[in-house]
Amino acid sequence: MSSHLTDEQQRIVKSADAFADEFLEPIAADLDRNGKYPKAVIAELAKHDLLGLVVTKSAGGTGAGFTAHVEALQRLSQTCPAVGSIINNHTAASYAISKWGSEAQKTAHLSALAKGQALGAICVYESGAALGLGADALLGTQAGTNIKLNGKKAFVRNAGVADTYLVFATLPADDGKTAISAFIVDAKTTGLSVGVAAQTMGLRGCPVAEVTFENVVLDSAARLGAAKDGAAILSETLSVYALGEAAQTVGIGKAAAKHAAAAAKHRIQFGHPIYSLQAIQTLLAEIASDAHLAWLGIRHAAQLIEDGAPFETEAAIVKSFLGRFGAKLLVDAIQVEGGLGICETAPPHFGGALPLARLFRDLAGTTLLETPADFPEALIAASL
């Protein structure tokens, strides 16, 4: 695959690999255990050019593009998917501002995001069945030329550590109905508050919490895109986000295959390494195959993004595929390691690091549906 990468993309891949080895490998297990946001890592990520990949050079980024972004995410997630999630959420916000931002908005935000001076986050989910429904829905009202936001966003990643939130809210529309609008909101804005971080199964270290908006007043310059663009911004931002999560999932799957294969070569049962058993070979081969096929889908969608072509159906196909096969990558890899595979830390009589249990918990988080009603298959079916 690397032969298909440009010189610049290869430079990013090398940078991501070096970053993972030098900065993530030593902290990944602790980060998972204590769940504390790794603030010190952000500056290093910026130094390694990993925070501004989808931001053009003229706007202060590296301009390496979306393919470089998914390559980097995939590689970092082989070691530490939680830091992958921090980057993915950050990048989804950067992407939307790059694509729909006015010149003034780009100048105000992109350079800081790309250089790691500001961390981005997206505020999408609500506790109701869909956006704008339910008691806590984030609703906007017109107050002169300003917009006033009231309500709650749930399960916001990078919550409390982000400086710049991309916020989706429901506003009254001209036709008497409602419409989704996107806003860029500074974390320090009066009336914005962040709840207690939730305890999650995995991806620990990438905080997730509720963000509450109480009479948050935004001037018209905070709106991203035109009023009619809101739904398209939401849909495309989520597709970009889904591709990032897919890249994380593939990285986790690749790491799982690597660790499980090493364990199988080491583990002697019935007089031979279990790697020599057909059942084990088949299991490992299926993990590698599923991860590879998903990866081809991700690279294809990334290329469409770079070409400026429609890509959301292709992103949905990847999400659908990993919805069916994603969890299996780790469910099967752990079988190869047996008792050791389900240990969070290595028992003293076995020794060695044991990342599979952590990766299993992380992977459960990179293959979630946004809401119980939102199936990627709907988008795919609509394209047929």
């Binding site: 939730a198 299991l283 240990c343």
Partner: protein
Amino acid sequence: MNILSPEQTAIQAAAKDFVARHIIPKAVEFDKSGAFHSFLLEEAKPGKIFGMAIPKAFGGLDYTPLTQALVLEEWGYGCCGMATTLAASVLSMESVLLAGNDAQKKQFFTPMLNGKIGAFALTEPSAGSDVGGGKTTAVKTAEGYTLHGSKCWITNGGIAEVFTIFAQTDPAKGVKGISAFIVERGTPGFTVGDEEDKLGLRSSNTVFLGLDNVKIPAANLLGKEGDGMKIAMQTLDLARPAIGALAVGLAQRALDECVKLLHEKFPGKPFPGQALQFKLADMKIQIEAARQVLHHMMALREAKLPFSEESAMAKTFGTDVAMNVTATAVRLMGAAGYSSELAKFMRDAKVMQIYEGTNQIQRLVIARAVLSRPKSAAPAEKVLAK
């Protein structure tokens, strides 16, 4: 639905009540701490909770296999971590039931009827799927036997009072040289290692056991020297469906919690979209099928018909279904599922595909039965060892 006798219905209802009062409210707390839930044994004592597999002649309740499965399903519904402590204690008795004399049965069952815990110790660092690869030895002496070696991944090892332990009395004979022994906690030379920090079933105790010249009386030998492999395999045949039963209960719980979350998410909308309805239907189909495989296996056992193949199927299918159903539940419920108890169910299910013989080993057992007609009773491990 099951067609149960009035007695079974009453026992099932009592188990549901026990689980609702004592297990469900504490499950998350003990999953987090991984601590031993000793309070449960106090609660369990009046109901003779470990007595369900003990014959009435020894003071037990002597439930039929199917009735035992009904109780195990309810335990699994509550918390598979705590349920594993209880179930492993019940299952540790199976070797004694199979091969013990009356004195040994009394020695093993009496503490358990008083709420003490038992453990079954077969696995070793070099002998996981390859049961015959064990290095622990038992040397015959004038007074009895001296056990030397180690055991790993022993469920209840750190909290049990009585153990069935397997060791080589004649290493030259391989699997035919394995023997089974009763060992009591506190015997000099018997040591318990640190508790393992597991992905799931976190409140269940899993430890390494050290046996440094542990001297036991000759009366503690179960059956004859060399019977160990046969006893171990027959014990596992009895134990595996119990894991299947916990898994069926776990999967049912995950589906129920998923539906509960859905109703919270879609108030006033009893039927979500078809995509979601079909997922829920698939979960239900799998759970019901796993339950029927389990109940059929228990019926075979009750009728004294061969059940080794069905036992492996009940464990494999039940735990694979639990894995699928819990993972689907987490995915469907999105970020809400990821920070809910559904995530615990998924972690628990993963461990259950491994313990009591990995689902890969179960498939070897099943494949060998499929390929050899008439059915033979020899364990798959033996075939591989050649």
